[in-house]
């Protein structure tokens, strides 16, 4: 009685795949109109009046560029077709022109902003590229900013984005493989790789993983990222890199990585990703190498601190007071005299407050954001100490951690540090230094097990590749960066010619 009867949807039973144009203009239009339902943006433009016309243009008003329809399609029809109704060939001056006989294909074209020209007594329509619509301009990246170096960043249009990459790599070897993902969204996705530099099997692997996706819609690259990443089990670490800067993507392509771009999102994926990629800012390659190396080391250290510092603070003050120099210990205890909570509670309280503040700052309009920081900084920081809720040292530890976490160049990795911090605070509160070390060992084993498209996540640390250390904690000068990363790149590992012919290297070695 309660069993649900399977619904029979008659409309869906009529298979769209089998429908074809019959040559009767009005009937064909009727079928398309029916399929779109009452969509008001489907426009049917007859050249003469509706009854007599033997040609019609169909388009979706929201997706086309009006000028090109007017100029290239309708005027062409008005001028040439009206004079000679029996004209066999119509010459449209649009960039792309496709013939289509199945209704399903025509729908796809219409939905991409093409306009469809149908004629009486003809069983195929002509799809013309008139796509348009409003797009954000290519502008400076707000997330990944640089002092020196290119400023362009991707926008939401796939073709523009591919163009931005192509404009940096003028080679026919840059392969672009396009496909559509999403049962309903039909999002165009492009896989980019440089032939002869990428591992061919990895390129195929990326392709096959993308082809296997079954989902109704893709709205951002994160959808793809979570679906195609290696089955590592649960991990808080990102195993696919993303960036919205074309120069970063081009650099990745030159190293033999593969980029995945998609329509509708500036976030572009780069695989395989290793830990070094996440700790590198694009500016490291645009500043002088000595300073860039310093910054890299500083950033690595800051990242480590941003994970470990609160836990270390808790362990030190809860279990290992003897390790703190005595004068400092006396000062610290003096500050905390009136504080009723355990250190761990204090730190957790401050950390969670900070996370809430940060989230509030993100979600609010920019103008109100400043108010949040005042409330957070002054009221909570200062007043909490004065009210005896937390010690001053705790505030220092937590804010130092926060500042350290801002230095992590990749937002993806910074947020995993945010999560891990809480785990380490808890472990340190329970087991002291051993808890902290336990957490770190566990994390390290976990990192060793991670793989990104088959490439070990921690390379070149383990498996050890000494040639690639020049791009991990330091950056060697450009004339010495002669090889592409092991494990990542394919057969061709040389970025420069052999060292004997390398003029810049030789010039330096002779001295």
């Amino acid at each position: 009685m309660f069993r649900r009867k399977p619904k029979l949807n008659k409309k869906q039973n009529r298979k769209i795949e089998d429908l074809r144009f019959q040559g009767n203009l009005n009937d064909d239009i009727k079928i398309i109109k029916e399929l779109f339902g009452d969509s008001s943006d489907l426009v049917v433009r007859f050249i003469d009046n509706e009854k007599e016309s033997s040609v019609a243009v169909l388009y979706l008003d929201s997706l086309i560029e009006r000028e090109s329809i007017e100029e290239y399609v309708i005027s062409e029809l008005n001028e040439n077709y009206k004079q000679d109704q029996n004209l066999r060939e119509l010459h449209f001056a649009t960039i792309k022109k496709e013939a289509t006989s199945s209704i399903k294909d025509s729908l796809t074209y219409l939905l991409q902003g093409y306009s469809l020209v149908l004629r009486e007594n003809q069983t195929s329509g002509i799809a013309l590229d008139t796509a348009g619509g409003e797009r954000r301009q290519v502008s400076e990246s707000e997330v990944e900013t640089v002092v020196r170096g290119p400023r362009e960043s991707f926008n939401e249009s796939l073709q523009t984005n591919i163009g931005l990459v192509r404009r940096r790599l003028h080679t026919h070897k840059l392969k672009v493989h396009e496909m559509k993902i999403g049962e309903l969204s039909q999002t165009p996705v492009a896989i980019l790789g440089i032939d002869g530099v990428v591992k061919p099997e990895m390129y195929e692997e990326v392709k096959s993983r993308l082809e296997k996706i079954e989902i109704d819609g893709i709205l951002d690259s994160l959808y793809l990222e979570e679906i195609i990443e290696d089955p590592n089990g649960y991990t808080p670490f990102p195993t696919i890199f993303n960036s919205e800067r074309p120069d970063r993507i081009a650099a990745g392509l030159l190293e033999g990585r593969i980029a995945i771009l998609l329509e509708g999102s500036p976030g572009t994926l780069l695989v395989p990703a290793t830990i070094g990629l996440f700790l590198t800012s694009n500016e490291d390659y645009y500043q002088r190498y000595d300073f860039a190396s310093f910054l890299k080391m500083l950033r690595g250290f800051a990242f480590f601190l941003s994970v470990v510092l609160p836990g270390f603070y808790v362990a030190l003050l809860t279990y290992h007071q003897e390790m703190i120099p005595t004068p400092l210990l006396i000062a610290l205890t003096g500050q905390r005299e009136g504080v009723p909570f355990a250190i761990a509670i204090e730190v957790l309280f401050m950390e969670i407050t900070f996370e809430i503040l940060r989230e509030a700052g993100l979600r609010l309009p920019k103008t109100i954001g400043a108010a949040v920081s005042i409330v957070g900084g002054l009221v909570l920081g200062q007043a909490a100490v004065e009210a005896g809720l937390v010690g001053q040292a705790t505030v220092i530890a937590v804010s130092l951690t926060a500042i350290c976490s801002f230095t992590t160049p990749s937002y993806n990795l910074a947020i995993s540090a945010r999560l891990l911090r809480f785990a380490l605070i808890t472990l340190s509160a329970v087991l002291g230094a051993f808890g902290l070390i336990f957490g770190l060992i566990f994390m390290y084993i976990h990192l060793t097990t991670l793989r990104s498209f088959g490439v070990p996540y921690l390379t070149p640390i383990v498996p050890f590749h000494k040639d690639n250390w020049g791009d991990l904690l330091i950056r060697t000068p450009w004339w010495a960066m002669r090889e592409r990363p092991n494990e990542v790149a394919g057969e061709n590992k040389d970025r420069m010619s052999d060292s004997r012919d390398n003029n810049h290297l030789n010039r330096r070695q002779k001295k």
Partner: protein, 361 residues
């Protein structure tokens, strides 16, 4: 069973990390108790048996390149006797793992957090080891590789920083009590180094087996060097009598380091021994489960990890009442027990296989 390969350097690092760190923690007091201020001479004496151990294990591994200790003891001795010998080896691994597990927990418990129950440390260590092993040998080797590279600078730094407390007069007079305590100490060191036999479970996965002999002997020499510093350091810093009375003399020397305002670097010791104990326990744990799986022809050892971990925890709790019991065992029984299983039996295996080969050829 596993399609994985590790490099010979990774294997070397596994052996060095696992033998050194628990050795420093548990065996140095034992050696000092035997040989006193002449412990460093015992170490020099131990070079010969140490090299012999490395040589025997490597030779066996080269003779049966695709087989582990458990498998080739069955090939050499026949099915039934081989199985019995394999079980003896497995018991040895099991005992060794539980001993270092207990040793680490006791160290932590008595030196740093006296009121935390032992069980906490046992379980924490076993969680780490189980996690690493379930991800197979490759992961263990890679993790250990990084840890060892992290540990060596700390060790070297420690020996430099303790230098100002060292008084080399404490090493004199040399050989006051004659040779017998020194030989006893050397015997103890030999028993410690015998745990190199665990590498016989790892060698089948080493990619390049041609250099195994050289690498094994190199490992043993590195081990000797790594023990020279702490053994002499402890005596020179504390003097013979005080050093003999300490439970964890190496940790005590670390504790006395002062760098400016930083006075007690306990946390360095904690880091050092946590990392090292992890390596040792994980390696022996791996040997047990892999050996069990090979003995009973299981396809995968993963299913064995958690029950074995539980058994290890229980066994290391009941193995002794307290730390003194462990030390007494290590001093008076362990040398005979370990040397018999890990040096004499492999030597016999080698001889029998040689004899068989001669008979056949």
């Amino acid at each position: 069973m596993e399609g994985i390969r590790i490099s010979s350097i990774q294997a070397l690092m596994l052996a060095v990390a696992s033998i050194t760190v628990t050795g420093h923690l548990l065996f140095i007091p034992v050696i000092i108790n035997h040989a006193g201020r002449d412990s460093w001479i015992s170490l020099l004496f131990a070079i010969i048996p140490a090299v012999l151990i490395g040589f025997v294990i490597a030779l066996l591994a080269q003779r049966y390149p695709e087989q582990s200790l458990i498998e080739y003891s069955q090939t050499i001795l026949g099915k039934w006797i081989g199985k019995i010998v394999a079980i003896i080896f497995l018991f040895y691994f099991f005992h060794e793992a539980s001993l270092s597990l207990r040793g680490f927990s006791e160290f932590y418990n008595s030196a740093i957090t006296p009121r935390t129950p032992l069980m906490i440390y046992l379980v924490a260590m076993l969680i780490l080891a189980t996690y690493a092993i379930r991800n197979r040998l490759e992961i263990l080797a890679r993790t250990n590789q990084t840890f060892l590279i992290l540990m060596i600078p700390i060790g070297i730094l420690a020996s430099f920083l303790t230098h100002k407390d060292k008084d080399y007069q404490n090493l004199l007079p040399i050989l006051e009590d004659g040779f017998s305590p020194v030989v006893m100490g050397a015997f103890n060191i030999t028993s410690l180094y015998s745990s190199f036999i665990v590498m016989a479970m790892v060698f089948p996965f080493v990619s390049n087996k041609k250099k195994l002999k050289r690498f094994s002997i190199l490992t043993m020499l590195i081990l000797i060097v790594m023990f020279l510093g702490p053994v002499s350091g402890v005596v020179t810093v504390f003097g013979e009598e005080r050093a003999m009375g300490l439970y964890f003399p190496t940790f005590q020397t670390l504790r006395d380091i002062e760098i400016g305002a930083l006075q007690r670097l306990d946390i360095l010791g904690v880091l050092l021994w946590s990392l090292g104990s992890f390596s040792k326990i994980a390696l022996f744990f791996y040997a047990i489960v892999l050996g069990l799986a090979q003995l009973f022809h299981l396809d995968d050892y993963k299913i064995l990890t958690i029950p074995t971990a539980a058994l290890l925890a229980i066994f290391s709790l009941i193995t002794s009442d307290d730390l003194i019991g462990i030390y007494r065992f290590l001093m008076h029984i362990y040398p005979y027990f370990a040397t018999l299983i890990a040096l004499v039996i492999p030597l016999l295996l080698l001889l029998i296989s040689q004899f068989k080969q001669l008979k056949r050829g």
